[in-house]
Amino acid sequence: MKMTLTKTSPAMKVLTAVLILGFIAFAHTFLPHRWQHICIMWAIWSTVGMGWLVILRVGQFSAGQAVFLCIGGYAAGVLMLKLNAPFWVALVLSAIFCSVVALIVGAIILRLKGLYFLVISLVFSEIVRLTIAATDYLGASEGLWDMPIPKKIGPVVFSTKQGWLYLFVFILILAALTFWRMENSRTGKIYAYIGASPDLAQSFGLYFMKYRVQAYVISAFFTGLVGAALAVYLGAINPEGFTFYYSLVAQIVAILGGVGSIVWGPLLGSLLYNVFDEYLVYIPGARSLLMGLLLIAVIFFLPEGLISLKNSFLKKKGGNPVVPH
């Protein structure tokens, strides 16, 4: 009989630890420069994709996830360039600032349903971006640049890609652990109830706004954290870096991987997306076209995303049967 909680077996924990350590060792010695870049992008978009997916869980389709990258990035920029805050302080404060913004804005816009929320989340994102583009203090359309390179901690140096790779993977692990625990505990169930039927959930004493705002704030925290780190990694940010296209990528990686799992979906989707994106540069002009074809192919042949490959693989091996829908 299934208990309320899915327990992690010790073997799984050991396997996960070995995989992470193995990856770091591999990245340190063998990983070519180009693949370091791909891995950084993979970690960034995996985290952002998870943030998008957790909002989808409470029944809201966010079309403006880039706004949290933007707020996180600019907060880090202001803290480091104008207030001379050290990188680590700026990183954490930016994420917290992002969460507070999400708390205030979310309490208003999360009341809207379906398409109305989709539109207003996009509008919110654009308002923030265009306001920044018109604010001289934030560098207007030129943006902020000359971000200082963070000091090294131990053997991790931030003047190379490797150091950044570790940082982004660390943020990814932090986000993945949090979302994994959320999804496999009561919190994830409550989100699923709210997403499925807010009225029914409310008749059991679950206030849908509380949980929607909660999901939104957590999403903003991790997306803001990535945004802050990304701004310093790139050394410069401007409003053009946070257009709707980047909100779209958050959705694409989650949908490619499969929205059935908050953690595994974006991890797989982001890998496919970024490898594809990186190598498509060789075919000039065809990048967007081929990316579109890839999306269509995945949605057409694997409507539940790449993660469904795992299920069909297990089924052939006589493993867990696929749950019917």
């Binding site: 299934k2 208990m3 309320t4 909680l5 949090t178 625990r181 959320m182 505990s185 009561r186 919190t187 169930k189 409550i190 699923a192 109830y193 499925a196 039927s197 009225d199 029914l200 959930a201 409310q202 008749s203 059991f204 004493g205 679950l206 206030y207 909660q214 749950v323 019917p324 829908h325």
Partner: protein, 259 residues
């Protein structure tokens, strides 16, 4: 003292008075039927009591406490459970997972305890599991426990709706046409269980069109038509009441307005 006391409850949608000055009183351990033709305002009364709609006028008191204008989740926490006329389901969840939803309101641990899997949180989840075992057995849902709710037979989905509500203690249960989509066997099974719930001290207010069931189940029946209460009494009194017969069957020639 009455458990629920509703005075002068009114609600209009545009110019249409859906509920017009209705008074209802429910005592502890009582099963009260709420009947009337389609569109009489029965479901609106339910939505007004449970906070899904705000009344234009009137008061709802639970054990003497004014609960008018509270949010549905706040009212649910005070001990009023309800089901819906349309079967609402948590799509993608199994029967057992859906049942846990009804238990959350008595759980005290919050987000952080769930995140860090503390012992208090585990203890509560164990209680939820044990309670779900009891409820599955009581409602006869044990064989469906691992089935996704959206593929359950229609009658079983109605059983599940009530099972979810009784996962945590309720003082009063508001059932909106619970017998819809059930066969005769399921109907008698549900009526038995409602009687058992009554003997455990749960009051029930039930909207139902299945008159035979209402007559056998209810201690008292309230009849509404065009948003107004037109009759109230024991099943025998109601079945003889001329105003009720008129509302259901239309008036006899020459006797219009006689009642």
């Amino acid at each position: 003292m009455s458990l629920i006391e509703i005075t002068n409850l009114s609600k209009s949608f545009g110019g249409n008075k859906a509920v017009d000055g209705v008074d209802i009183e429910i005592h502890s351990g009582e099963i009260v039927g709420l009947v009337g033709p389609n569109g009489a305002g029965k479901s609106t009364i339910f939505n007004l009591i449970t906070g899904f709609l705000r009344p234009d006028n009137g008061r709802v008191r639970l054990k003497g406490e004014n609960i008018t204008g509270l949010r549905p989740d706040q009212i649910a926490k005070k001990g009023i459970g309800r089901t819906f006329q349309l079967t609402l389901l948590f799509h993608g969840q199994t029967t057992r997972e859906s049942l846990y939803a009804g238990h959350v309101r008595v759980e005290k641990t919050g987000f952080w305890q769930a995140l860090f899997d503390t012992s208090a949180y585990r203890e509560e989840r164990k209680q939820a599991f044990e309670r779900s075992q009891e409820v599955l057995t009581f409602m006869g849902l044990a064989e469906w426990q691992d089935t996704l709710v959206n593929v359950l037979p229609c009658g079983i989905q109605r059983f599940l709706g009530i099972a979810q509500v009784i996962m945590s203690p309720v003082d009063v249960l508001l059932l909106d046409e619970p017998l819809t989509g059930m066969n005769e066997e399921e109907i008698s099974g549900l009526l038995d269980r409602l009687k058992k719930l009554q003997s455990q001290g749960v009051s029930i207010l039930i909207i139902e069109h299945h008159m035979k069931a209402v007559m056998t189940l209810c201690d008292r029946i309230i009849v509404v038509n065009f948003g107004k209460k037109i009759a109230e009494g024991t099943p025998e009194e109601i079945s003889r009441n001329p105003a009720v017969i008129e509302a259901y069957l239309g008036c006899k020639r020459g006797t219009a307005g006689a009642s």
